[in-house]
Amino acid sequence: MAHHVNIERRRQAVYGWLLLSPAVILLTTFAFYPSLATLWSSLFSRGTRRRPSEFVGTENYTDLFADPTFWKVVTNNLIYAGATIPISIAIALGMALWANSKIPARGFVRTAYFTPTVLPMIAAANLWLFFYTPGLGVLDQIGSLFGLPSVNWLGQPETALWAVIVVTIWKEAGFFMIFYLAALQTIPEDLKEAADIEGASRWTYTRRIVLPLLMPTTLFIMVNALINSVKLIDHLFILTKGGPNDASKLILYYIWEMAFAFFDAPHAAAMTILVLVVLGVVAGIKFTILDKRTHYQ
């Protein structure tokens, strides 16, 4: 009998690994091996025809830390994250509260909020180009109605990054709204009734009951928004190409530029590792602290 159980167990193991093998092979090929290979190649110098690549330890990293462009890009990305995450979450929350209340043309309102989500970032950038173009763009035309001078939104260092940030917020707020909308619909009606009986104002009800109940959703969205602040860089290719003077350059764009425009793979690899470390910390926080405190099901 024990023998029989043993065979059954072994059979399960074989089936299990067979079923997993396509996923394991693909994940190894395109995620785990590349991560290790990136770490490895970040420790070597860039090979040229005269000087083959050699082991340089952490030199690529110290180069980066001494590179003012790197710090500029990191600062930009921190501003990008620091602006897009809270603002898009706040707008998403507002949208969800409105789209969930009894207002006229609710269908249209919901559709309008969500539509940017289904557009490619490249197309979104093209649409916004029409707004930002100096002289001809919509923003300048509106400004000129009030006698404001023409502004080169994308061409000057003070505004370029913010112009990019606006497009990102526009793109992701509607997406985050959906998650809030779903969460709002799970809040029982009697809470509202109880609050009404107690004479609580709508504002008090929202602040003291709705917002705390939305906390798990907010954390989930926050992690997503954080990942997006690394990932969403497509519009840079259309709007600014990171310029002027690196004013709107973000990390992933810089990695791309380093590797595929300057052909400096080792420094790109070092930067990739730094990003992976940051993402790893975020993952660690999410899986240990947040998942313990919030329950999704």
Partner: protein, 269 residues
């Protein structure tokens, strides 16, 4: 008082909706008007299809559409196969090492394919897949997110059905194919919508891996078409943009409810 604030809120909601949709509306309007009318906001100007004619002649759009269509199809088929098998293994088969592999898969949720562009590019070239649709699609097939989603769906299947099928003489594959897959149909639909809209819109990785009009997807084609070096004017760019977003946008407007449900099902774990 409360009625007044309600009106103000309704107005605010509508105003925000109009602002939110306005970039799309402007581009739509500009696409059907001559450039000078578009930039001067000549509301009474005649409508024209010239921009679409110019845009259409300016790039091999049909090929781009076909490439994007093939790309999302290849990715979706690959993802369905890989995530179904892995999701089933994680949900219903007990074997040593399973939990360890599952943690590895969860880790991949945070190792974004976008970040590993340099080494993935080297890998795709080594496999001889550079400038091929398979090369663009392959890194996305073992989606950790999809595996996670399928595992959740399969966990919800009552074990009695599994046992019944086994008593009837179904093998592992038969049980998976006849019991689990049909019951997880809503999850497949949700995953398909999310996957298709993600990869229809993906840009950076296809930009790196493709190098010819024969493989380039729409997004990459659109970015090349609209590059300032090409000196295309704003109405023509708007027309090209409208053309390339139209299929997904129309699909979204028609299947709005399913789309939103899909994103929800995919997002809430």
């Amino acid at each position: 008082m409360s009625a007044l604030s309600r009106h103000i809120e309704a107005f605010g909601a509508l105003l925000l909706a109009v602002i939110w949709i306005s970039p799309l509306l402007f581009a739509f309007w500009a696409a059907f008007h001559s450039t000078s009318d578009a930039v001067n906001f000549n509301v009474t100007a005649p409508w024209t299809l010239d921009n679409f004619r110019v845009a259409w002649a300016g790039a091999p759009w049909l090929q781009y559409f076909l490439n994007t269509f093939l790309l999302v199809t290849v990715i979706l088929i690959g993802q369905f196969i890989v995530t179904t098998l892995a999701g089933f293994a994680f949900a219903q088969v007990r074997f040593p090492g399973r939990d360890f592999v599952f943690i590895l898969v969860l880790m991949q949720l945070f190792i974004l394919p976008e970040v590993l562009i340099v080494e993935n590019y080297a890998m795709v070239s080594r496999l001889g897949l550079f400038d091929s649709i398979l090369g663009v699609g392959m890194p996305y097939m073992a989606s950790a997110f999809g595996i996670f989603l399928m595992r959740q769906a399969f966990k919800g299947v009552p074990i009695e059905l599994h046992e019944a099928a086994r008593v009837e003489g179904c093998g592992w594959f038969g049980i998976l194919w006849r019991v689990y897959v049909p019951l997880a149909r809503p999850t497949y639909l949700a995953y398909a919508l999310v996957s298709v809209s993600t990869h229809w819109n993906n840009f950076l990785w296809p930009l790196i891996v493709t190098n010819s009009p024969d493989t380039r997807p729409l997004t990459v084609g659109l970015s090349i078409f609209g590059a300032p070096e090409n000196g295309v004017d704003i109405s023509v760019i708007s027309a090209a943009t409208m053309m390339s977003v139209a299929p997904l946008l129309v699909a979204f407007l028609v299947f709005q409810r399913q789309f939103v449900q899909a994103f929800l099902r995919a997002g809430i774990k």
